[in-house]
């Protein structure tokens, strides 16, 4: 009877030990980009540059998962819920009296990321909107002195402000 190979104390890189009643042998990992593995299709350590997730190696983490550079793993990323409906168009907390206002929508963080360093996607966004009521009922008409461009810029700045304010309250709320 002929014998092939040599006996190793532990399997070389890229191989895993396959134990059987009659013989133990090293078998090749069949997973792409895997450095060492648990079994034929479960990786325990990926090649450099690849992220490990549930026994497989990914160049980019699958959807919903975020790469963690320290351990080169894909961990559960921030999971956000669906966007809400757009809110009411308002400006300076007023829903009337202006031609343009801002409307905002939000979404919730369903699952927090596994590590704090993993960023979450934006959870609130605003856009310019046309107010339904140009003139407040019984309100005083605002003087229309400033030119339109300046007004628009102003509006954008305010939108930013409002947005950040909202984010701040949201963070604080969590």
């Amino acid at each position: 009877m002929r014998q092939y190979g040599e006996c190793l104390n532990s399997c070389p890189s890229g191989y895993y030990g396959l134990r059987a009643p009659d013989m133990n042998r090293c078998s090749r990992c069949r997973i792409e980009n895997c450095d060492s593995c648990f079994s034929r299709d479960f990786c325990t350590k990926c090649k450099p540059g690849f992220y490990l997730y549930r026994g497989r190696c990914f160049g980019e983490c699958p959807d919903g998962f975020a790469p963690l550079e320290e351990t080169m793993e894909c961990v559960e990323g921030c999971e956000v819920g669906p966007w809400s409906e757009w809110g009411t168009c308002s400006r300076n907390n007023k829903t009337c009296g202006f031609k343009w206002g801002l409307e905002t929508r939000t979404r919730q963080i369903v699952k927090k990321p596994a590590k704090d360093t993993i960023p979450c996607p934006t959870i609130a966004e605003s856009r310019r909107c046309k107010m339904a009521l140009r003139h407040c009922p019984g309100g005083k008409r605002t003087p229309k002195t400033k030119d339109k461009r300046k007004k628009k810029k102003n509006l954008m700045e305010r939108a930013q402000k409002q947005h950040s304010l909202f984010l701040g309250t949201d963070r604080a709320g969590q």
Binding site: G17, C26, S27, F38, S39, R54, G55
Partner: protein, 1131 residues
């Protein structure tokens, strides 16, 4: 770096030590810049604020003592190491001795010595920058160039330099130009007798050998062997570093840690260097060390250790706190030890441990709290232990577990909720246990399980618990005797992709199986007893299906209907007789089809156009041809008959060539795995986890896009494509043998049997031999006929010819003829011998009847032998020659049959030779009264000789092919079988015709007889002939082997319808061959008449009336009518 960042500081010190070590190497002159204050400032920048201050103080004190010189690199190194020492609690935190395992079994070494060793063994293999003239001052009496203990004259490194540079260096040292060894004198004063060890010249020293092409031997440092550490670190390094001889007394399978400086980076990349460095520090291998005991706190100080290998030791227990303090440990390997228990308490506080290997131990109990301190554990090996049940409570503490194996234990039962808390588990191996029962909630909680391996267990029914595994993708269920798959067995596994249900004793597949398994890709159902297949129509994603070794009878049209992804079907080793013509039509992706060993008669070719692999071997009834045009993509084809390969060109050697490439191209592990899985462990080959070989072959085939089609069995001399006889020499030879043997044997038979002359028993046997030889001639005739009618396109008819009745008849004829001829020859020899001994003892010879009976016996025996292959002992149809002779790749049963035949024949020849030697001895003793038919005895001897000689190559061939002693090409075998084997059949009659006097007598008699018949009709009696017959009466001498006394002509067996007067013509036919002179003299005494004692059944006596006393020998007159005696014989 902050003040608290001790670990970084510690790393920095390690780097610096390594750099210092590397700096001593003269081949890295770039490191000399470390001595400059600029680089030291860079190092200083890295230091924490406290140390910056201290370093300032240290520089000041150094400058005070060293005349304002800036301190060398070693100074800053020692400073930092000292600081590290001060700031770390552990005394020996960075010292080399800590790499010595702190165990009794390891000899301790002097720290300083080790440091030296480490420096010496650090070698840089690729010399990217050659040393410049900046060489340290010679302080040692040896090779100043290397500062090593070899003389400069022997320094190979030195000699690789150009002569000018060497001269310049020597001048700079300054050394004596003549001996190159001493700097005390100059060349003029040198008294040393020098001799160049390269060219033996005494004009120059070895160091100045003007060799422009220096020997290409590796430099001493780069030739040092690399250990495992090298293989670990080479992937990131443009400059390979070697790590050797770290511990002189220990084996090389040792981690090198910092002694092995992985890379001497150019300054400016300290971060990268540190990274590599870190890696080494994080790894410790203490495997295969015979460590039998661990002491608490052994690894206490290794708080940065990430991997610890303690496999292959003799550990029988792990004491408490053995691994305490290993906060960063990620991998702990304890396999192949003698552990019989895991500590009952939560001893291991290893918060970062991810992989724990405890396989191949003797663990029988895992206490409940064993894994409490391992919250991050992901991979757990507990296979090959002695567990009898699943450690349910211990496993509850491992919520992060992703992969676990409990294989090769003695677990017999899986209780309900056994893995309740393992929600992250992806892989679970439970194979090779004794699991008989499985609770219905046994797999509850395994929400993420994708792979479940239950191979080799003792389950008797398909477990219901599998239904709870909603994410299951792969299920292994090999070798469980479940007999049947219940309906709705896979109702809860919609994602199942790979299923192995082999060797499970399944008779029937549930009809709705595929509805439950819409994602199934691979289905292995081999080695079951499935007789009927359901439609796999609903398994739309099915890619591979394995149904080999079942009992399937037929493939219906809807069996594999519309499986657009199906690539491979294995239906080998079934009983398939019919395949519906439309069965494969709707399979556009099918590339591999295996139908080996079935009972197919035809194969529908529609839908098989895309095939690359088709295996049809072992379907003997499938002899149709497969045109090449039908398989445009074919790469591997196995057909039942080699003739079907003829269309695909002669590419028989392709596979051999490619397998040679394999061994060259691939790593040895691959090759090994391939061979082992294929050859030694067939059981594993059908396990789905071991498809290495097949994948490997596929890869191999894919990688080598050959236009050649690999078709087996390949045609060869025994499976010719064009002509049965491939060369004209053989063809002519066969024709010649055929003609000669048929004609001559016919003639002999006619002469022997039809001649009116006396039919002696020996003659009868000779005639029978001629008959069998004629059968051999007929065999040749049949082959020649087949060759002629299939001339040029034998492949078309080959398969039909081989399997047809014609070949059986031909083979029977051939074997019967050759065996009968040999047995009859034996009979002849025995008869000759017996008649002599009979006469000696009893005074009479064996009767003709017994000879006839013997001949019948021989014929029966040989027909039995020839009939054996018809009863499937041996085989006639294995070659178009219809001979059961073992081909180079013949079956063992055929070989056995042939060896038996050859042995019988050899025995016959031995008997013949023995009896004949005895006969001749007896004859030479000459104590017989009788006169023997020497011509016949001689003839038999000739026959024996010829047959023996010609049988030798056949016997040799058989045995050599049995023992595979010599490499005989099939062409040679074929020509031997075709020409040498039937050759005796044409030589035997020739011998008789040309050299045997009986033939002429008989022939003449026959001619006379026919003439006599004519004359009988004409009532003509010739006076002359009558006279001459009376003359010939004088020449009458006793007839040899029948020994009749010739009393009355009418007793002689002449047809009675002829007139009695014609009987006289019979007399001369009695041939007389005196055997011994003595008999002649004796006969002289006995008044010219000798009564031959042996009485044949005819009871005829031939009277001897003529002799030649003067010559004292008998004169034989064969043709009395001829003017001179034709034949004179002396013995």
């Amino acid at each position: 770096m902050t003040n608290k960042d001790l670990s970084k500081l510690w790393k920095l010190s390690n780097i610096l030590i390594s750099l210092q070590a590397a700096k001593k190497d003269p081949r890295l002159p770039g490191l000399a810049c470390l001595d400059q204050s600029l680089s030291q400032r860079q190092i200083k920048e890295k230091l924490p604020p406290i140390l910056k201050e201290k370093w300032g103080d240290a520089v000041a004190s150094y400058k005070a003592t060293h005349l304002d010189q800036s301190p060398p690199f070693s100074y800053i190194v020692s400073f930092i190491t000292q600081m590290v020492k001060d700031h770390n609690d552990s005394q020996s935190y960075y010292d080399p001795p800590r790499y010595d395992p702190p165990l009794e079994s390891v000899p301790t070494q002097d720290t300083k010595a080790k440091m030296e060793a480490s420096v010496r063994s650090t070698g840089v293999s690729s010399m990217t920058n050659s040393p410049t003239a900046e060489v340290p001052k010679p302080t040692e009496p040896f090779c100043q160039f290397h500062k090593k203990t070899h003389p400069l004259n022997k320094c190979r490194e030195f000699r690789t330099k150009p002569l000018e540079e060497r001269k310049a260096l020597i001048k700079e040292y300054p050394l004596c130009f003549k001996c190159c060894e001493s700097k005390d004198h100059i060349a003029k004063d040198c008294k040393t007798v020098i001799k160049c060890h390269v060219c033996d010249s005494n004009k120059h020293a070895g160091a100045l050998h003007p060799d422009s092409d220096p020997p290409q031997q590796p430099t001493p440092s780069s030739s040092t062997t690399a250990t495992s550490a090298e293989s670990l670190n080479t992937h990131t390094q443009p400059v390979g570093a070697h790590c050797t001889q770290v511990y002189g007394t220990m084996k090389s399978q040792r981690s090198c840690h910092q002694i092995c400086l992985a890379k001497v980076f150019p300054i400016g990349h300290p971060k990268k260097a540190a990274k590599i460095f870190c890696y080494f520090l994080s790894f410790r291998d203490l495997s295969m060390n015979n460590i039998s005991e661990l002491l608490p706190g052994d690894f206490h100080h290794l708080r940065f250790l990430e991997e610890l290998r303690l496999s292959g030791n003799q550990l029988s227990m792990i004491p408490g706190e053995a691994f305490s303090g290993l906060y960063n440990l990620k991998i702990l390997m304890l396999q192949n030890n003698q552990l019989n228990q895991i500590p009952a308490e939560a001893l291991w506080d290893l918060p970062n441990l991810q992989s724990l290997r405890l396989d191949a131990n003797l663990i029988s109990v895992v206490p409940d709290k064993s894994f409490e301190g391992l919250p991050s554990l992901r991979h757990l090996w507990l296979d090959d232990n002695a567990l009898t049940e699943i450690p349910v409570k211990a496993l509850n503490n491992l919520p992060a577990l992703q992969a676990m194996t409990l294989a090769l234990n003695q677990i017999w039962h899986i209780p309900d909720y056994a893995f309740q808390n393992l929600t992250s588990l992806v892989v679970l191996h439970l194979h090779n246990n004794q699991i008989q029962s499985l609770g219905t909630q046994g797999f509850e909680g395994l929400h993420s399980l994708e792979t479940l391996d239950l191979n080799y267990n003792e389950l008797v029914e398909f477990p219901v618990a599998i239904r709870t595994l909603g994410q299951l993708q792969e299920l292994g269920f090999h070798n469980n005797n479940i007999k049947a798959i219940p309906e709705k067995a896979f109702a809860g596994n919609p994602l199942l992709q790979i299923m192995t249900l082999t060797r499970a004793g399944i008779h029937l597949l549930p009809g709705g199986m595929c509805q439950q398994l819409p994602s199934l890709r691979v289905l292995e159902l081999s080695h079951n007893q499935i007789e009927e297949l359901p439609s796999f129509h609903c398994c739309q994603k099915l890619e591979e299906i394995g149904l080999q070794h079942n009992r399937i009878h037929e493939i219906r049209a809807d069996t594999f209907g519309q499986l657009t992804a199906l690539r491979s079907i294995d239906l080998s080793w079934n009983f398939i007789q019919t395949i519906h013509p439309e069965a494969f039509v709707t399979l556009p992706s099918l590339v591999k089809l295996d139908l080996t060993d079935n009972q197919l008669v035809t194969l529908p070719l529609s839908g098989l156009n895309a095939l690359t692999h088709l295996k049809l071997k072992g379907n003997p009834a499938l002899s149709e041809s497969f045109p090449k045009e039908n398989f445009p993509k074919m790469r591997v084809l196995e057909v039942p008959y080699a003739y079907q390969c003829c269309a695909y060109g002669a590419c028989g050697n392709f596979f051999k060539v490619s397998s040679q490439w394999d061994s060259e191209d691939t790593s040895p592990e691959d090759e090994d795995g391939h061979k082992r899985s294929s050859g030694l462990f067939p059981n594993h080959a059908d396990n789905h986890y071991d498809l290495d070989m097949e994948d490997f072959q596929l890869e191999m085939e894919d990688s080598k896009l050959h236009l050649n089609i690999q078709c087996t069995p390949s045609p060869g001399p025994f499976k010719p494509c064009d002509h049965l006889f491939e060369s004209w020499v053989i063809r002519l030879g066969v024709w010649l043998i055929m003609l000669v043997s048929i004609l001559c044997n016919g003639l002999v038979m006619v002469v022997v049997f039809a001649s009116p002359g006396y039919l002696s028993p020996i003659k009868f046997v000779i005639g029978s031999i001629a008959g069998t030889n004629m059968l051999t001639g007929m065999y040749c005739a049949i082959l020649a006929f087949v060759d002629t009618i299939t001339f040029g396109h034998f492949a078309r008819y080959g398969a039909r010819w081989e399997t047809g009745a014609g070949c059986q008849v031909t083979g029977f004829l051939s074997v019967f003829a050759s065996e009968a001829s040999i047995l009859l020859l034996t009979l002849a020899a025995i008869q000759c011998s017996l008649s002599v001994s009979c006469m000696k003892t009893y005074g009479k010879v064996p009767s003709f009847g017994s000879v006839k009976a013997g001949a019948m016996c021989c014929l029966t025996l040989s027909s039995v032998a020839a009939a054996l292959p018809l009863l499937s002992v041996g085989e006639y149809g294995s070659s178009p020659l219809c001979l059961p002779y073992p081909l180079p790749d013949g079956k063992p049963s055929m070989l056995g049959f042939m060896v038996a035949l050859v042995l019988v024949n050899t025995l016959c020849f031995l008997i013949i030779t023995g009896t004949y030697i005895r006969l001749y001895c007896n004859l030479l003793k000459g104590d017989f009264d009788s006169v023997w038919d020497c011509a016949m005895i001689k003839h038999v001897a000739w026959l024996i000789f010829v047959n023996c000689i010609l049988y030798c190559p056949v016997a040799f061939l058989t045995f050599s092919s049995m023992l595979s002693l010599f490499l005989i090409t099939p062409e040679v075998i074929k020509s031997v079988l075709l020409v040498v084997l039937p050759l005796p059949a044409c030589l035997n009659p020739l011998l008789y015709l040309l050299f045997n006097p009986h033939f002429r007598d008989d022939l003449r008699l026959l001619r006379h007889k026919s003439q006599a018949q004519e004359s009988c009709a004409q009532s003509y009696v010739s006076e002359d002939t009558e006279k001459s017959s009376y003359d010939s009466m004088q020449a009458l001498v006793p007839f040899s082997d029948m020994d009749h006394i010739f009393e009355a002509p009418d007793i002689f067996g002449v047809p009675s319808r002829c007139p009695p007067g014609l009987d006289t013509y019979s007399f001369p036919s009695v041939t007389l061959i005196p055997c011994q002179q003595k008999t002649g003299t004796r006969r002289h005494d006995s008044d010219f008449s000798t009564h031959l004692s042996c009485l044949a059944d005819n009871e005829l006596l031939i009277a001897s009336e003529s002799r030649d006393p003067a010559r004292n020998s008998l004169r034989i007159t064969l043709f009395p009518t001829s003017p001179t005696p034709a034949f004179t014989s002396h013995l």
